[in-house]
Symmetry: C2
Subunit: 316 residues, 2 copies
Amino acid sequence: MDGALDRVGDAYREILANTSRESRDMVRHAARFNGKRLRPALTLAAARLAGSEVTDDVASSAAIVELIHTATLVHDDILDSADVRRKVATVNVRWGNHAAVLVGDVLFSKAYRAAAYLDDPFASRYLSDIVGQVLEGEIHQDHVSHDPSLGEEEYREIIRGKTASLYEAALVVGAHYGGASEDLKGSLGAFGHHLGMAFQIIDDRLDVTGDEATVGKSLGTDMSEGKMTLPLIIWRDGLAPEGREAAVARIQHAWSCDEGAQELASELHTSGALERTDTAAQAEIDRALACLTAVPEGADRQLLATIAGFVVRRRL
Amino acid sequence: MDGALDRVGDAYREILANTSRESRDMVRHAARFNGKRLRPALTLAAARLAGSEVTDDVASSAAIVELIHTATLVHDDILDSADVRRKVATVNVRWGNHAAVLVGDVLFSKAYRAAAYLDDPFASRYLSDIVGQVLEGEIHQDHVSHDPSLGEEEYREIIRGKTASLYEAALVVGAHYGGASEDLKGSLGAFGHHLGMAFQIIDDRLDVTGDEATVGKSLGTDMSEGKMTLPLIIWRDGLAPEGREAAVARIQHAWSCDEGAQELASELHTSGALERTDTAAQAEIDRALACLTAVPEGADRQLLATIAGFVVRRRL
C-alpha cells in the first residue's frame, strides 16, 4: 500500500521535473500542497479491484489527477484570498497573483502533457472533460455568491462539478487503466461521486466548526466570501416560513462582518443545522457504500469503505 | 482563402460550444479577442504547402492554437492590470480576477480537450509542450521584471518562449496535419519562430510609439510594469560605458512614474534606439524569409512572405 503510493509520488515528481530555474521554487512550493493523498489511494484501489497490478499507467494517471487538484488549489487561492493552505503560505501570498496564475497554468499544462503521452488517449480526453466540469462548478459558485436564496438542488449541482467530479475521476482512471469492465468502472465512478459529495459537505461544515490548527487552512472563508454552504441552506430551510426573511437578513449580515458570522455560527450550532449537515454527508456515504456491493470483495473494497468512513468523520 | 479562415472560425466556435449558462457570456466575451487571425492564416498556408487540403484536422489545429493564444491573453490581463484589449474591456475588469482566472482555465481546458479528440496524438503532445514554453517565458519575464541590467540574450530567450513558440506552433501543426516531411515541417517551424521574434520586437516598439486607438489595447504598460524591452536594452547598450549608470537610473525612474516614462520615450525617439529596434525586427524577418527558400514556390509561400512584411511594418 505505502510502496504503491510512493510510486504515485515518484510519478508526480517525474511529471514536474524539467521545470525552468525561474519557476522551480514556485512549482515545488505548490506541489507541497498534496496532503491526505486520498485520491491517489482511490485510484490504486480501483486498479487493483479491476484485477491489475499498479502499472506505470495507473501510477501516472493517479499522479495526473492529483496534479490537476493541486493546480485548482493554486488558482482557487487567488479567488479566495486565502492566506494559508496546509500550513504553508499560498503561492499568491508569497509570490503575488501574477505568479500564482502562471504556476497553476504550468501545473495544468504538465498534467495535460503527462496524460497526452500515455499510449491510451482515454486520460487525455476524459480528464480534459473533468477539468471542464470542475471549472464550470467553480464558475457557477461565483455566479451565485452572496445569494442567500440558493436552493439545495443548485448547491448540489455546484459541488458535483467543483469537488465530486475529481473524486469520481480518481476512481475511473484507476479502473480504466486497470482494465475494468464498463460496469465495474461505472460502480467505482459512482462510489467516487458520492464520496466526493460527502467530502465537500463535510468541508462546508468544517469551515464553520473546524480548528484552524488541525485543518491546516484558513477557516471561516466561506462565510467571509458570501458562499451559501449546506449548513446555511439546511438552517434556512428548516425555519418556519415566517422566519425566512429574518434568516436571509442574518445570512447577509454574516457575510458582511465577523460579528455577524460568529453569531450565525453559534445559531448553526444550537439549531441542530450542523447535525443535519452531518446526516446529509452520511447519506452520501451510504449511497457510496451501496455502490460497493457491485465491486469484488476483499482488502481493496474494505479500503474504499474505510476511506468513506474517514471522510465523514474527518476533522481535517 | 477567406472561406478557409471561416472554417477555422467555425472550428473555434464549435470547440467553445457546450459551455454552461453561467460561463457562456464570459467565454464569448473572451473569444472576441481574436483579432488579426495571423496564426490561423499561417496554419492554413503551412498545410497547403505540405500539399494538403484544409481538412477538419487542419482547421481544428489552427483553432486550437488560436484558442491557446486567447487563454494566455485572458490570464496575461490579470498579470498586467491592462484595462483594454482589442477595444473591449478585459474579462478581469468586467467580471473580476476570480472570473478571469477561471475563464482562462476553461479556454485552456477546451483547447486541450479538442486536441485530445484528434485521432493523431501529435497536437495534444506537442501543444502541451508549447504551452509550457509560453508559460516558462512569462515566468522568466516576471522573474527579471524591474531589472535594468537584463541582457539582450536573456531578453531573446524570454520572447522566444512567451511569443515565438506559439507562432512556430501555428506553422508546425499546419505542416504536421497537412502531412509535411520532417524537413519541410522544420523549415516552416523555423520561419514561424523568426516571425514570432519579429512580432514581439515590434510589439515592444509599439508600446513606446503606438497610437492606442489604432492598436486597440493599453499602451505604455511595459514601462509601467517594469518590463525591460528591446528598445530600452538597445538604448542602454548603445551608450558609452560612463553613461550606463545614469541610464539605469533613468530606466528605474521611468518605471516609477509617468513623467519619467514620457521623458525616456522621447529619449528613445531622439537617440535612434527605435530605428535600431526596427532593424533588429527586420533582421528576424530576413531570417524568416531565408527559411522559405526550402519551401515550395507559389501563392502560399508568397502569402507567408507577405505576412512577414506586414508584421514588421504593422502599426497595430
